[in-house]
């Protein structure tokens, strides 16, 4: 570190090495830890490994919400018009969680085929459809609504 140029170079090299390390670690971790988003038909046709954190989005089927005797665990079905996934959740449901509206659940598939949700996200807006579901065409949405209101 006698020459200012050398010192500058050393600093730049250290900074670059750390930043490259950061991005490598980050990308590696992202592969393992990012939870994939599934709609029910994907979850059924190509199920993730049980226990892997995933995110499930779809519509809560009409008439499917059942509260267990403990008063705090609910079972319901999330559908996308093509497939249906049973979901179990313990906790206070978010304010806009209701039958016939969209929901996104963070959780994992269990070996028994029931999705255990840790968190339910229902956006704080009465018009909310999960953004992941916005790509569904109007006809698809209609089908989901009809399917779930039967």
């Amino acid at each position: 570190m006698h020459q200012p140029k050398h010192q500058r170079l050393a600093l730049v090299v250290i900074a670059v090495v750390v930043l490259i390390a950061a991005s490598l670690i980050a990308t590696w971790a992202l592969r393992g830890e990012a939870s994939l988003f599934y709609v029910p038909s994907q979850l059924v046709s190509d199920p993730p490994a049980p226990g892997r954190a995933v995110r499930l989005g779809g519509m809560v089927e009409q008439g499917s919400v059942v509260t267990r005797p403990d008063g705090v665990t609910i079972d319901f079905v999330v559908g996308d018009g093509k497939a249906r996934v049973p979901v179990e959740y313990s906790g206070i449901v978010p304010d806009l969680f209701k039958e016939g509206s969209g929901v996104v659940a963070d959780g994992r598939m269990q070996a028994n085929g029931v999705f255990k949700a840790d968190t339910l996200l229902a956006k704080h807006d009465e018009n909310y459809v999960p953004r992941e579901l916005q790509d569904m065409t109007a006809a698809q949405k209609q089908a989901v609504v009809e399917d779930t209101t039967k």
């Binding site: 570190m1 900074a15 971790a29 939870s35 206070i92 304010d95 963070d106």
Partner: protein, 651 residues
């Protein structure tokens, strides 16, 4: 009429910004000091622009206060039945209004620079104001062409749609403006960086001129993040204080960049080193606030609390982002080589520690940025993912933990060059505290790896942060040094709060009958009754509970489940009991059949330390800011006295 006045003022302000840019840019070609040239209109233009923007924003406030339903924005975001405070707050609780607030704050900052700042060479000053006008013009265009807050509604609405009830909260009413002050402060830092780069005047004087703005922005960001975290904690009813939500990351990333900038600007101001790096951070910090705005406003990422979602606006902000960052990087590429390199220093020195801190902060920033943008990248490839705490917690910790070590040791080191041996007894103290904390954590057991590390590092930093006070006269210690000590101490306090909450948090979820008692941690809680109650624009079911800590006197706790009718929506109002050693957090849910009510209860040991720490960090910033400004004023008046004496001697 009021709306038209506001709009006219806005157009005039935009025109002045155009003049400010043109005059500032043209005056760069001429030599400074020639007052007859075009450059002399730059400062007055900035001042008048500020006044016009304040006028326009006042008009918008007035429209909201009167609930003028012939204005589209008012009809969409307000309601005649709302309390006055929230009527006014609704003015900035939406996209258009908050953009106008942004432009207003930015133009006020420009006016202040034009009025006050005399330290820099006049040419650099003009270049800075021109850069600021350049940034401002983008926002004016955004407002006037795509988000006009004064747009009329014909025919007028009969009643407004109301404000999102979640936003009807005193904390949230002031939360976005706080963050905006931070973002705008960084835009000023950006202008200073570009201005200095254009005239090649990257000097300690430049760092001293820029530093108060960075400090101010950083204080607002710190307060904003702390308040936002507390708001999410008590208002969403989930009992969590940080979710790594894109909207939260949007405020964290500029904070990380501003923290790095603050430290590198200090090196530049004190030691005339890290010139190019400081400029680069100035550009990055503002870019981060633009990226944050883009993420929040475009709704491009799924977020629990994104609002005002509109792809067209997202595209507009993206275009602005590309122009600003691209432009600044271009100038940087052309000029950075000519910014001479400054003073040398050894790696073991105050500067060296600050460089390590900067690199680590940048690494954390990169990690958060990647995690936040990753869903976008994969979505482009047709795969939808969400990235949460399992990624952010460990990966940011990898870089945060070494940074905490440097934070503990760095302030003990001397500038230029030092030996670790000189501070060996301090290192021994820090090491002993860390060891004792590690033993205590192992004995308590049960805590996860990250919370345990947090407790150990937090305890060590708590002690290390006050060590620089040893052997110095506390009365004579400069305010800025006090600021550093308090801010570092605050980081340790916040870290201890986070680690303690994660390690020892206890939760109870139950459906209970009236009269029944349930338990969480050391608390016994009895549901006494459930009352229907009514507020100004909501009704609610209120659970009345009595909570006893360890058999002590009962404390009444009243969580509510509120129903708003405009717009129709339900919210959860949690109830908190704060003790010195933690917080009881209670939420009431739905009726659960057989006369039972859902209750969710948490005992969170030492959780208030998180926000107390955040406020201490901001207080440290405020002390440093006051200290710096006071020093500058003293220096300036001393210089004036010397100049007067010289003039006297000459006559």
């Amino acid at each position: 009429m009021i709306a038209e006045l506001g709009l006219a003022a806005l157009w005039l302000a935009a025109a002045l910004a155009g003049l400010q840019l043109a005059a500032g840019a043209l005056s760069l070609r001429t030599e400074a000091g020639d007052d007859s040239d075009l450059g002399s209109v730059v400062r007055p233009a900035a001042v008048v622009q500020g006044i016009l923007c304040v006028f326009a924003f006042t008009m918008l406030l007035w429209l909201f206060a009167r609930t003028d339903l012939s204005v589209k924005l008012v009809a969409e975001n307000s309601h005649s039945m709302k309390p006055m405070l929230f009527k006014v707050a609704a003015a900035w609780g939406n996209h258009e209004g908050s953009m106008l607030l942004w432009v207003t704050v930015m133009s006020i900052a420009g006016a202040l620079i034009a009025l006050i700042e005399r330290r820099l060479p006049e040419r650099t000053m003009r270049a800075t104001l021109a850069a600021q006008a350049f940034v401002g013009l983008g926002f004016y265009a955004f407002l006037l062409f795509s988000s006009n807050p004064f747009e009329r509604l014909n025919p007028p609405a009969l009643e407004g749609l109301g404000l999102n009830p979640l936003l009807q909260d005193i904390g949230l009413a002031f939360h976005p403006p706080t963050l905006y002050f931070g973002y705008v402060g960084l835009s000023v830092a950006f202008s200073f960086a570009v201005g200095a780069l254009l005239t090649r005047e990257v000097t300690p004087a430049f760092a001293r001129a820029m530093r108060p703005w960075v400090l101010g922005a950083w204080i607002f960001l710190t307060v904003g993040i702390t308040a936002g975290s507390y708001w999410a904690y008590y208002e969403l009813g989930w009992g969590g204080w940080w979710f790594w939500d894109p909207v939260e990351n949007a405020s964290l990333m500029p904070w990380l960049a501003a923290t790095a900038l603050l430290h590198s600007a200090s090196v530049l101001a004190a030691r005339d080193a890290l010139r190019a790096w400081t400029i680069m951070l100035g550009v990055i910090a503002f870019s981060m606030s633009m990226i944050g705005t883009f993420l929040v406003r475009s709704g491009i990422l799924t977020s629990v609390h994104a609002f005002a979602v509109d792809p067209e606006r997202g595209t507009f902000i993206l275009a602005l982002l590309a122009i600003y960052i691209g432009g600044a990087l271009l100038v940087f590429a052309l000029r950075a080589g000519s910014v001479s390199e400054g003073q040398r220093f050894a790696l073991v020195s105050r500067e060296g520690a600050l460089v390590v801190n900067n690199v680590m902060l940048s690494a954390i920033l990169g990690v958060v940025l990647l995690g936040t943008l990753y869903p976008l990248l994969t979505e482009a490839m047709g795969v939808r993912v969400s990235v949460g705490p399992p990624y952010f917690d460990p990966v940011s910790a990898i870089f945060a933990l070494p940074m905490l070590v440097v934070m503990a040791v760095g302030p003990l080191l001397r500038w230029r060059s030092d030996r670790l041996g000189r501070v060996r007894w301090q290192l021994a103290v820090i090491g002993t505290v860390a060891l004792a904390a590690a033993v205590a954590v192992l004995l308590l057991a049960g805590a996860g790896l990250l919370p345990s590390l947090g407790l150990v590092f937090g305890a060590a930093l708590l002690v290390a942060s006050v060590l620089p006070l040893k052997g110095r006269s506390l009365r004579l210690l400069p305010l800025a040094t006090w600021g550093m000590v308090v801010a570092h101490f605050g980081i340790a306090v916040a870290l201890l709060g986070m680690a303690s909450e994660s390690a020892f948090n206890q939760e109870k979820l139950a459906a209970v009958n009236v009269g029944e008692t349930t338990q969480v941690g050391p608390w016994k809680i009895t549901l006494e009754r459930v009352d229907p109650i009514a507020g100004p624009n909501w009704t609610a079911l209120e659970g009345v509970m009595s909570a006893r800590y360890d058999g002590g006197a009962p404390i009444v706790v009243t969580p509510q489940a509120r129903t708003f009718w405009a717009p129709p929506q339900e919210t959860t109002e949690s109830a908190l009991v704060t003790r010195w050693n933690g917080q009881l957090y209670a939420v009431i849910g739905k009726e659960a059949g057989q006369g039972r009510w859902q209750l969710r209860l948490w005992w969170k040991p030492f959780v208030p330390l998180i926000w107390l720490g955040g406020l201490l960090v901001a207080l440290g910033g405020a002390l440093a800011l006051v200290g710096r400004v006071a020093t500058d004023l003293r220096r300036r008046s001393a210089q004036r006295r010397i100049a007067e004496r010289k003039a006297d001697a000459a006559t």
